[in-house]
């Protein structure tokens, strides 16, 4: 297997999800290379060696300075055709999705997305992904090479293996249409914390909070964890918190790594909006609340006692 991993970077750092995919590729075996595209990124490229890349290809060009997808398609198309990789892996992001998709068209190569695992099965590479709101898991494959895969961000953790990578430059000829779009203004660091759809951690409050003022407890815990605040339909209906934070069938669907549900009963209308979260912790006074059927760690107790203590402990741990 010869695998190329797209290494996304932002403000001078290789992104964790990309490094996680790189580590996974190393685990799957075969020749693993990374590719870093940008302007002034050679130093960054070398760092990928520590996570399992034997070689890192770099295309350093002013056309690649802004995080636009189409010039990257040009670069990867050239690299993949010349080097003959049989698999190209991406950690999903807004940019990566466009790059992978454009590459799929350019090379006529199959693309599977939203993968939560990649395995070797009977000599073939198989991707695993949830479908239909997590009610079924599908094994997907490829009928030709190269195989393109978009892996759900954060699925794999980076593992430092302490290796060194050989850095190799390559040139790119850009298509005219790839250079037509220009970025007038580029996004900077997070403003006031992540929106609930992007957050890795969400602390959500429901009717069990008792009163709108108690959302303060939820906010403080969210802040300590570096996460976002979400709400259930019931409390949004009652005007306790804005609709933009509503998680559920008629609100947003989220899948953070950690979801802490405070005073939420777990009715299905809410469950379908958050059931594929990584770890679900629930705090509720009612031992019969449905949420205890599908959470990972459930606490029957008074959130007014537990949440402030939890916030304090989290702050201590992080400092």
């Amino acid at each position: 297997m010869t695998t190329l991993v797209f290494l996304e970077h932002h403000e001078g750092e290789l992104l964790k999800p990309s490094l996680g995919v790189l580590s996974k590729a190393a685990e799957l075996g075969g020749d693993v290379a990374g590719v870093v595209l940008g302007s002034g990124v050679r130093d960054l490229a070398a760092k990928a060696g520590a996570y399992g890349a034997a070689k890192v290809y770099v295309a350093d060009a002013p056309e690649l300075e802004q995080p636009l997808s189409q010039p990257r398609v040009d670069a990867l198309a050239k690299l993949v055709s010349e080097q003959g990789f049989d698999s190209v892996l991406f950690a999903a992001s807004v940019l990566a999705a466009d790059v992978a998709s454009g590459l799929s068209a350019r090379l006529g190569a199959g693309l599977n997305w939203d993968l939560t695992d990649l395995v070797q099965q009977d000599g073939s590479l198989i991707g695993k992904r949830p479908a239909l709101g997590d009610s079924v898991y599908v094994d997907v494959g490829w009928s030709s090479e190269p195989r393109l895969a978009l892996i759900r961000a954060g699925t794999f953790d980076p593992k430092e293996t302490g290796g060194e990578a050989q850095v190799e430059d390559f040139d790119v000829q850009f298509e005219d249409f790839s250079l037509a779009a220009t970025m007038l203004e580029q996004a900077h660091a997070e403003s006031e914390g992540p929106s609930i759809e992007d957050a890795d951690v969400i602390v959500a409050g429901g009717r069990g909070l008792g009163a709108p003022e108690n959302f303060k407890l939820v906010e403080e815990l969210a802040q300590a964890l570096g996460g976002a605040v979400a709400a259930t339909r019931a409390v949004v209906d009652s005007g306790w918190y804005p609709y933009a934070t509503q998680v559920g069938q008629t609100g947003k669907t989220v899948s953070p790594k950690l979801y802490i549900a405070c005073g939420i009963s777990g009715a299905i209308q809410h469950k379908v909006g958050m059931q594929s979260s990584g770890v679900i912790v629930a705090i509720n006074k009612d031992p019969n609340a449905p949420i205890f059927e599908f959470c990972d760690f459930g606490v029957v107790g008074d959130l007014n006692d537990i949440v402030p203590k939890l916030t304090e402990l989290v702050r201590q741990r992080k400092s």
Binding site: Q70, A109, L111, W113, F294, G298, L310, V314
Partner: protein, 258 residues
């Protein structure tokens, strides 16, 4: 100005959506509706038409029942529609689907091509970039605010890091996010008038696409198996005896989410 909007007809509601165990593909024979995310694209196209003049054409690839989604877009105010329907195209993956869509869009000659943010049935957010590559046009995705002026389209879009503003000359491909607008309700007149708006049905060969490039034959990905979701694992349930907060923190550390 001509705007083409790509819409998808998806099975109605996740409560009824089922995967057909024999084909391992989504059972699309039941009730369906226009992909909710695509209604934002239709709405945006209509707003642009209202501001700049021109025409809005809806393009969809799907079974005959996709007529319902097409009608909804026409009822909202689109001027015409193209339904690409062909048994040979059933089971097309991204590569096959975008081959067909690109062929259809090429013949429409639109200045602006709009897509919705993702498909409700496959959670894919990938169609437009592939189509843009085939059409050799610039693409802007996840656009939350769109402006058109002087032959250029400018999109303010959300990424993990905040908002980018990207500009591209027409003709261009733009995928809009669901934050961009609130789709209008079709008026009753609109619903009644939808029927008489021009609707073309085309087959794969009429588009000049080879049969081998579509359907399962033209797809480069496969569905191998369907499985039950992995069990969540045992739930730990405790009662607070004063130490619940500590226990939670320990659990989070153990699970490496802290």
């Amino acid at each position: 100005m001509k705007i083409a909007v790509c819409v998808k007809h998806v099975p109605e509601g996740t409560t009824h959506a089922r995967i057909d165990p024999s084909t391992k593909r989504l059972n699309r024979s039941g009730e369906g509706a226009i992909n909710a995310f695509d209604t934002h694209a239709v709405e945006e196209a209509l707003k642009l038409k209202e501001a700049e003049g021109g025409e809005v054409v809806v393009v969809t690839m799907g079974p005959q029942s996709a007529q319902d989604s097409v009608r909804k877009a026409l009822a909202m105010g689109a001027d015409g529609a193209v339904l690409i329907t062909d048994d040979a195209a059933a089971g097309s993956d991204l590569v096959a689907t975008t081959t067909v869509l690109a062929a259809a869009l090429e013949s429409e000659g639109a200045d602006l091509i709009l897509f919705g943010q993702q498909a409700g049935d496959s959670d894919g957010a990938v169609l437009w970039a592939a189509v843009a590559d085939r059409l050799r046009r610039p693409v802007i995705s996840q656009v939350a605010e769109l402006t058109l002026s002087g032959g250029k389209v400018t999109g303010k879009r959300q990424t993990e890091f905040g908002y980018d503003t990207i500009e591209a000359p027409l003709p261009a491909v733009v995928a809009v996010s669901d934050a961009i607008n609130e789709p209008r309700y079709p008026s009753l007149k609109g619903i009644m008038g939808a029927r008489s708006k021009p609707q073309r049905t085309v087959t794969i060969s009429e588009l000049g696409v080879d049969g081998g490039a579509v359907g399962e034959a033209g797809s480069k990905t496969t569905v191998e198996a369907l499985n039950d979701p992995p069990p969540r694992g045992d739930t730990v349930k405790i009662e607070d005896d004063g130490s619940a907060a500590e226990k939670i923190v320990d659990y989070l550390a153990e699970k490496k989410v802290l």
